[in-house]
């Protein structure tokens, strides 16, 4: 493999062809479900620098993220959160991509990328603010270079493309990365984002998490071809990777980031994985999905796969396991504490930040509401449906 002086791939950047796995292989894979490292003529290049220590750290990330997810689901069940969108099963896709990014790259995600947010360094209390119902957005996007989660399906892909056009104008080599689901690829916004990205060769990575379901709708309802092939129609090169293989995801993301940084334009990555939990804690997947399917995918679990690799390398020591468990425990308890001690928002907070400067019209509404609340001895009495009179 030729490299230029920056250490990046040379003129023949590997994987520029649409079929990364080569003939007969459905997607790029570097670790088998049994945890065996398989070598790949082109993609090994992109993870050649990953040390044993880094592998252990990826294992820790994925374990911690799963623990965050389980803990948040428990918090929802205990009434501490209004809702939670689990990412169970998607840890490799989120960590493999999230850990490939530079601090000055900027992420535009959906509501399910809590693992990516963790990789960006999100404060765990901030992560829960929205889901507890205490805020409209959990964090300052510029503090971790990640926009707050998008609920409107696919809208963020346009934002990422626009941000990337800005990077381009500025002559910088950062990259905008946008995460969205398989269902999102049907939305007009996502298709329009690809049109713009291709037209302007914007430095944006479209990271599509194909977790096979859009609430109750299987991916085949959204597309009759592989999602990765859709991008090709827009003139955007694409890669299809095993989304449960953290190294494969990393290799593909690094390639795409490198291409964007060097002026090569957008790349579309389809990470093939599976949503092992419900769509959200309000969803009941037994109504639409076969239990066998879940079992098949459990056998391809991303965390046990990496554990298998570590084991083969003699790295999965009791000390490592203990250390990872301790970290997950402490993150979970820190998150729980942050959640349960979050200060309650105050009624008049609803009037804050509607505009960047005050206006008398809204101030009047706020003033009237303050008077209304003050007309009750106990302000809480003013807001029940039944009333306090």
């Amino acid at each position: 493999m030729s490299t230029d002086e920056t250490g990046h791939g040379g003129a023949q950047t590997p994987g520029s062809a649409g079929n990364p796995g080569g003939p007969g292989q459905e997607f790029l894979q570097l670790i088998t479900p049994a945890g065996e490292r398989i070598s790949h003529p082109e993609f090994d290049f992109w993870v050649r620098d990953i040390t044993d220590e880094q592998l252990c750290s990826l294992f820790e990330d994925m374990t911690v993220i799963r623990r965050i997810d389980v803990e948040a689901t428990a918090l929802q069940r205990q009434g501490e959160l209004a809702l939670w969108p689990p990412l169970l099963g998607q840890e490799a896709a989120q960590v493999g991509s999230g850990r490939s990014l530079r601090a000055d790259d900027f992420v535009f995600s959906s509501y399910r990328e809590n693992g990516v947010a963790y990789c960006r360094g999100v404060d765990l209390t901030d992560l829960l603010r929205v889901w507890r119902g205490n805020a409209s957005g959990g964090w300052d996007p510029y503090s971790i270079n990640m926009a707050t989660p998008q609920i409107i399906i696919g809208a963020q892909t346009l934002h990422a493309t626009g941000y990337a056009m800005g990077i381009q104008n500025d002559g910088a080599d950062a990259v905008a990365v946008t995460y969205f689901g398989d269902g999102a690829t049907s939305e007009g916004d996502v298709n329009e984002a690809m049109v713009f990205a291709a037209s302007f060769q914007a430095p944006v990575v479209f990271f599509c998490t194909n977790n096979h379901w859009a609430i109750s709708e299987p991916v085949r309802l959204q597309s009759h071809i592989q999602l990765a092939d859709r991008a090709t129609g827009f003139g955007i090169p694409s890669l299809r990777v095993d989304g449960n293989d953290v190294l494969a995801v990393m290799a593909a993301t690094r390639l795409a980031l490198d291409r964007a940084r060097r002026g090569g334009g957008p790349t579309f990555i389809e990470a093939v994985t599976y949503r092992m939990g419900p769509h959200t804690t309000a969803d009941d997947p037994t109504r639409y999905r076969d239990a066998n399917e879940l079992e098949d995918w459990a056998a391809k679990d991303p965390i046990s796969r990496l554990a298998g690799l570590l084991d083969r390398k003699g790295l999965l020591t009791p000390e490592l396991q203990q250390q990872v468990k301790d970290k997950a425990d402490s993150v979970a308890s820190e998150m729980r504490r942050g959640c349960t001690t979050m200060p309650e928002p105050q009624p008049l907070d609803v009037f804050k930040h509607v505009y960047s400067t005050p206006n008398s019209w809204l101030e009047r509404q706020q003033d009237h509401y303050a008077r209304y609340l003050a007309s009750f001895g106990d302000p809480a009495g003013a807001v029940s449906e039944e009333g306090a009179r």
Partner: protein, 336 residues
């Protein structure tokens, strides 16, 4: 008569329409196998097949835009927009195409499309799940906009909407989906109260209180609380937001001399403004006080911990009634 929840009543009405007219087709996200995220279409795909009850890809503009094509072809599409906040990707198709095709073709093309939208707040959801977008559509000529406030109406009006040759936005108050009520399934929608007529729910002589959708129940509760204090409120369930049945409101205000309008949507440019202005024009000499609006604030729908502050509740409505009556209220002593 059977006891049905709101959601089951709509389901029963959809079922009737599917049975009675083979041109009726349902389209939307998750409406088939799952039966909709609120289970409003539960069981319909099983009984009518995947060509009558269609799970669509995730694309609201396409859902409404293809309904336009189906209507051209003689079908009567009933589309579900999963939540109020997701109607905006379809906005262009609704206001530029659905609303105008009858006019544009001088009546040659009918657009008997029903767009079902769960709307309003009060269920503790994240953003985009609790909006009241009705005013965007009442501002667009050519659309009919209706809401329902009890299971019987839910059952009857959905059938009237589907049978109507005009496009109808059918707003479902999602926080009432689980409320139960008597439903007479033998009612003939053709001879029931037409969907564009308002209904007087309680007789009253002191104040006319106009509400629709989710706030109708709150308004009725407010009227009975006021009755305990000797105030007689006439509650009107508007039902149709476009066109508004002004004759019904005028008749009531002529009697009471006072008007309070309440809705969850923000105040500015909302339906309350329209009703207040129209009634002022038509009843100026009958009014004994300026019309009062009790509405959501002019803010984005707030996060769930504070949503009950934004949503007009019983006490806020009664405070508005006090204002209309010149009784002591939270704004007493303030000028203008």
């Amino acid at each position: 008569m059977t006891q049905l929840t709101f959601a089951r009543a709509i389901n029963a009405g959809l079922r009737k329409s599917l049975e009675n007219d083979s041109k009726v087709v349902l389209l939307g996200e998750d409406i088939g196998t799952l039966g909709g995220v609120f289970r409003v279409t539960d069981g319909l795909q099983k009984d009518f097949g995947t060509h009558r009850v269609v799970d669509t890809p995730l694309a609201e503009s396409a859902i409404v835009g293809t309904a336009v094509g189906l209507a051209y072809r003689g079908y009567r599409p009933v589309v579900e927009i999963q939540f109020d906040g997701f109607i905006y990707p379809a906005f262009d198709q609704i206001v530029s195409q659905v609303a105008k095709l009858h006019y544009r073709t001088r009546g040659a093309v009918k657009m008997p499309i029903t767009i079902r939208v769960p709307f309003g707040g009060g269920i503790g959801s994240p953003e985009h799940h609790s909006e009241s977008p009705e005013a965007y559509f009442t501002h667009t000529s050519g659309l009919r906009v209706v809401t329902v406030a009890n299971p019987q109406d839910a059952y009857t009006v959905i059938q009237q909407a589907i049978a109507c040759d005009d496009p109808v936005l059918y707003f479902e108050p999602k926080r009432r989906y689980h409320d139960k009520g008597e439903v007479d399934e033998s009612v003939d929608p053709a001879s029931a109260l037409p969907m564009d007529k308002a209904r007087v729910l309680t007789d009253g002589s002191d104040v006319t209180l106009v509400a629709y959708g989710p706030l109708v129940k709150t308004a009725v509760d407010a009227a009975s609380a006021a009755a305990d204090e000797g105030i007689s409120i006439e509650v009107i369930d508007l039902r149709s937001l476009a066109p508004v049945d002004y004759d019904a409101v005028v008749a009531s205000v002529r009697k009471t001399g006072r008007l309070v309008v309440t809705h969850e949507a923000g105040q500015s440019g909302g339906l309350g403004a329209e009703v207040a202005a129209s009634i002022t024009e038509r009843c100026f000499y009958h009014l004994e006080a300026a019309p009062v609006r009790v509405t959501g604030f002019d803010i984005p729908y707030p996060y769930s911990k504070l949503e009950m502050h934004h949503l007009p509740g019983l006490d806020r409505i009664l405070d508005g009634v006090d204002r209309a009556l010149g009784r002591p209220n939270s704004l007493s002593g303030l000028e203008g």
